[in-house]
Each structure stands twice: as C-alpha cells, then as structure tokens.
Symmetry: none
Subunit: 209 residues, 4 copies
DNA sequence: TATGAATGAGAATTCATTCAT
DNA sequence: CATGAATGAATTCTCATTCAT
C-alpha cells in the first residue's frame, strides 16, 4: 500500500463518516427546530442532502438518530467540560468554571442545547431502554468538585453532593432554557455565570468567621 | 325561568363541567404516562369514559387539551403557592416556604409534575401561539420575594432577580425531575427543600458582619 | 324494545356485517386478480368502496384479511360439500359426488378457487402460525369416504386413506388449476368429474371377480 | 486468436457461468425458504457470495432470476424424467416409473420442489408473459404414455389424455406438497409411488376379462 | 467484470377529526 | 349533547435497481 492509496482510503473513510456526520448535524438542526416527534425523517434527509433511504444505512430508525445524537453531543460536552475543569485546581474556581463553561457551551451551540433541554426529558420515557449515562457523568463532575471541596474544608460538610449537584445544574439549566427558548438574551453569559456560581458558592461554603 | 329549570340548567352545567374535568384529569394521566405526542385522543376518551367525539365538544383539538390542562393545573399550583406564601411575612421564610411547597406539590401530584416538567418544554415550540403566562407568574413570585428582601435589606442589592428566580426555580425543578423520572426517592422532601433553600438563601443574603 | 327498533338494530347489524363482507369480497377479487403480495390494501379499499383506514376497523392487517377470507370461504366450501355428500349413502357415489361438487364449486367461484389454489400454498410459509384446519377437514372428508368404503368391502383394504385422499384431491385440484389459470375451458365439468372419479374409483375398488 | 487467449476466454466463460450458476442456486435456496416476494435480492447476493449489483450483470431483474431458475431446473427435471422413462418400454411400467422418478426428484431436491410447488402457481399470474413451456412438456410426457398405452390397447380408449395427465400429475403433486410443507414424512416414497400409480393404472387400464 | 453505497418510489398502517344518527 | 364508525392525510421504513469507482 503506497501513500496515495492510503490517502484514498482515508478520504473514503472521511466521506463515509461525513455522511453519518451530516445526518447527525442535519438532525440536530431539525430536532431543535421542530422537536423529535414533529421532525420528519424526510426533513432530516433533505437537510442533510441525502435520500430518505440513506438515513437507514447509517441509523436503525428515527429513535436511533436521536440516541446517537445524544451520545455524540454529550460526549463532546463532557470532554469539553473535563478539559475546562482540568485547568483549575481550586474547587471554588472549578465550580465557577463549570458554570461559565456550561453556559458558554450552551450559547455556542444552541441547537444541541435545545435538544438536550427538551428531548432529553422526553427521552427517558419513550426510550425506556436508553440509560443516559453521559448525563449522569456530567452531573457527577459537579458532585466530585463538591466532595473535593468538602475534603479540603472549603465547602460545608453537611452539604449533600447528590442534592447539590442537581441544584447547581438545575440553576444553570433553567437559565439556559430561558436563553434557548426566548429569542433575545436579556443577561449576558458572564453575568449569569457569575451570579449563579456566586449564590451557590456562598451557599455551600464554610462561613468565614 | 322557574326554579326547576334553573336547577336543571345548573345540573347540566355541572354535568358539563364534570365531563370537561374528567377529560382534563384523564388527559393528565395519559400525557404523564405516554407524553403528548404518543398519547392518542382515543386513549384519553377511554380513560375519561367518554366517546372519542365527545372530546371535541369540550376542546378544539388535541393541543387545546394540553393547553387547558396547563392553564388549569398551573392556576391551581399558583393559587396554592400564593396561599402558602401569604402565611409568611419574612422574605427568608417565604423563600424556604416556596421550596417546601413546590416540592410538596410535585410529590402530591406526580402526573401534573411530569407534564409540567416534560411537556412544558415542548409546548413553547409546538404551540407557538401559546404564551405560558402562568408559568411566568409562578417564577415572578420568586422575583417578588427577592425584591422584597432587597428592599428590606436582607438580600444583597447586586442580586439580579431575573436571574435569581430562574436559578432558584431551576434548582428545585431539577430536583423534582429527578424524583419524577426515577422511581425511588433517595432524599426526602424536607431535606431537599432545606438544603436547596439554605444554599440559595445564604448565597443571596447580605453577609452578616 | 318494539319491533321497529328491533328492525333498526337488525339493519345496523346487517350494515356492519355488510362492510366486513364487502371488504372480504373485494379482497377476494383483488387477491385473485393480483395475488396477495401484489394486492395493495388501497386496492381492496377502493374495490370495497371504503377508505383505507376502514379496512383496519375490521381486520388487524393485510395478512388477517387473507386468513379471514380463507376461513370464511373454506367454511362455506366445507359446508357445501358436507351437505352434498349427505345426500348419498354409497361410498362410490359419494366419491363421485365429491368430484362433481368440488369442480362445480370451483367453477362457480373462480376467484375463491384461484386464491385457495395459489395463496393457500404461500400461506403455509408466510403465515407460519396459521394452521389451515378447514383444509385438513376437507381432505378428511375423502379419507372418511374411503374408510367407509373399506369397511363395506367395496374399496380394497390395502388402500392407504392418507395417501389416497391426497391423490384424489390432487387430481381434482390440478384439473381446477388448469381451469382457473387458463382462460378457456377445454373440457366440461361433468366430463372431468366423470373421468377423474372413474379412474380413481376403479383404481381403489375391490376387483370384481 | 492464440491458444492462451482462448483458454483465458474459456476460463472467463466458465467463471461467468460459475457465478450465474451460483446465483441460481442461491436463489433456489432463498426462494424456497422465503418465497419469491419475501426474498430480497440482497439475500440472494449474500447467499451467492456476490455483491448486490453483480446479480444485475447476470439477470435483468428479480423476476428474471425466477424465470431462469424455472427454466433451468425444469430442464433438468425434464431431462431426468425423459432419461428415466427411456429405460422402460411398457406404458404401464413407464407410468409407474414416472411416479417413482417424480417423487424421487422431489425428495432429492426439496428446494426446487418447493419453488415449483409454490412459485409455479404465482408465476403464471405475476409474469403474464412467461409461458411455462417446460411444465407443459413435462405434463405431456404423461399424455404421451397414455396415448401410447391406448394404441397398444392396454389403456381404455375413452380415457382423455388431457384430463388424465393432469389427474395423475395432480395426485403426485399433492403428495409432494404434503411432503414439502410438512417436516416429517409419514409415508415413504416407494409406498406413495406404488399406491398412486396403482390406483391410476387400474383406473385407466382396460379391464381384464 | 465487480462492487456496494445511494436512491426514491412505494406501501402498510395510524390516528386526529368529522358527522350522521 | 353524545356517540363511534368512517375517513384519508400523513409518515416511517423497505428494497429493487443504478452507477461511480
């Protein structure tokens, strides 16, 4: 195998992935625009520039498109967040970083955010078998920071990480929902991240004497 | 108009309301169980013990059932909350009361909670014309408490009520979502309400010197 | 309940049956014309003068139409045959009567014959679960006559009814297939019935000394 | 043209035939297993170990595969039968030989038998233009024996060969259908061939005085 | 020749809604 | 008011066939 054939194979591989990727991206736009149930497979096909039948070469069925989309996007979000958090050592800074990164990711990718916001909720019902592992991992990043802070004595020991992770995520999430669903953005990201993480941080921190 | 006809009309009115109510309640159960899009009008009719066609004597279409359901259930939730808050004068106690009442309402009526959780998010997209006024009012109860606290000097003046109301609601909402979607309840209501309102209260309060 | 309401209910009952019956009859014509797989449900609906969806009020799916059709037509054929055979006491005459009645039924109802001829064969594969009881009963009418004839000493005792019933039916069936599939009829019914039953009767009878 | 190129072309010819043959054989198995309409071209391709597109280098379309299959298999059956019959001079023995050979061929090649059994019937409808010449020839082998027997005075002159050939074939065919469709074999070939040909022979023979 | 990814026409089935009774 | 049979538009998915490589 010479280099040129290698390149050709690589190109073919890329093109193949390309179609899978194009469908995922088209689906992201269409699901965000119409919601899962009102999105037609033919809408996605048209948006992706492929024939209806082609969708079924890459996905088992419509549900599978949504599940794959989740998996891939959540993996990206998770990787991004882990990478962002790794830059901070201090649990306090980490939590603030989480808020900032989360809201930034939402802002940069409204469509994905909207799908995760809206369809994520649907999903647990209509895809009973689908266990949203990645989302649980994402929440646990928060719980880990809190536990770390508790060990370091900066967060109060009576904070229950299992509740606090949800409270913190929920606060950020509701803020994003507001952005995603309303067209205009009343408050800017830094302000929102700053506010939310500061309430929360003060709320869970060991009171200074 | 004589009394007997008056009674008759009253009875008819009652019966009409009765059927309207039965349909709303049936829809609440069915939507909670299957979600809006997967719920069939005939499912609701069967659950309500009426004929399919009868639904259309009380509602314009399937969307209208969901909208009416929202309106009515949100009105009840709102009334409940307003009544619960009126018993407290102190903004700090009010916020704690809000958390406790919210989570109690969720717990007492899982079906409504699930619909508000899940379908509320869908609604704003698939029913473009529907402005969820009541939900905005519900959130504004929180903003009002915060503003009141700021005026009384107990909450920090740099807190932005428009952000804080979402953060607080989001924290509670994510906690309820966890309850609604998971079968078992890991943490009890009082604990959760206590934790969440305490983070938040400490977070937004004027630091004690 | 007065007579008029009784009549009304009867009429409704009839109309209801009527639609079921109309669909069966339409399906008979369409299946005969195109075969099961090439018959579209919408063809049947059009032929029956109902909407596509109406079919599904009376039948579970396309397969169910075919199965119902078999059941009903085979029941009619079976009843007819039993009635025809009951008029004869002599096994020899009974077998001849069987041939004549079978070919007459085929001739009178070419569509049904064609479906039974053609789709019956398909059926056992694509409808694995469908056990064609009636057809087995039909064949057993022949076996019963043969056994009766053996007991009376007119048919040879070494004839195996399980083989003979198939041989006799097969002979008649191939003859009908020829009629059904070819447009013109080269030989008339009485001749064919006469020939076939005479070969067979002489073949299985105890040789006269 | 030199020898080497001749050899090459011959090899190519062989390879071509080879692939043609492999597809036919694969189709035989697949059609027998699923029936024509439910067999996918890609099933056949996989079974034959070729790509889907390759099928279309050897056959015009799916129908053409079935027609070719009939032609080839029927030719083989026909040749086999002619060869088997040529060993007998006596019309009586020939008929018995026919029964035995027919049932043996069925038994040796269940797949072909099943296709001929089942799809043969479909074929005349869905492939209007296809005249099943070979099958007609096969039936005429029987008619020829009968006519020969009549000329030799062993078969009754009033037997109509056109009817008798169908009766005889039908008897054998129904017996094979039973074998093909039921998994177990209740009666053995020799017994069945013996019974059927003996009924028939006695049935059409000139009565011995 | 051989491939197999891509196509897109086609078909079964569903279900919100209507309307005659 | 109430019914529920009937409607038919809409949608997912399949698969024979093509064609660029």
């Amino acid at each position: 195998m010479n280099e040129s054939s290698f390149i050709t194979m690589e190109a073919m591989e890329k093109r193949k992935n390309d179609k899978h990727q194009r469908i995922i991206e088209a689906a992201t736009r269409i699901f965000a625009r119409k919601g899962f149930f009102q999105a037609k497979v033919s809408d996605i096909a048209r948006e992706a520039g492929v024939a209806d039948g082609t969708i079924y070469l890459y996905f088992d069925n419509k549900d599978d498109i949504l599940i794959s989309l989740f998996e891939e996007q959540m993996k990206a979000v998770l990787d991004n967040m882990i990478s962002a958090l790794s830059k901070e050592a201090d649990p306090v800074k980490k939590l603030h970083q989480f808020a900032l990164t989360h809201l930034s990711l939402i802002e940069e990718n409204k469509n994905v955010a909207e799908i995760i916001q809206v369809e994520l909720r649907q999903s647990s019902r209509f895809m009973k078998e689908y266990k949203n592992e990645r989302f649980a991992q994402y929440l646990d990043l928060i719980a880990d920071i809190i536990r770390e802070g508790q060990q370091k004595g900066v967060f109060a020991p009576d904070i229950i990480p299992g509740i606090a992770k949800r409270a913190f995520f929920g606060a950020l999430d509701e803020m994003s929902r507001f952005w995603v669903l309303s067209s205009r953005k009343e408050y800017d990201i830094r302000t929102a991240a700053q506010q939310i993480s500061s309430y929360f941080l003060r709320g869970i921190s060991v009171p200074r004497t």
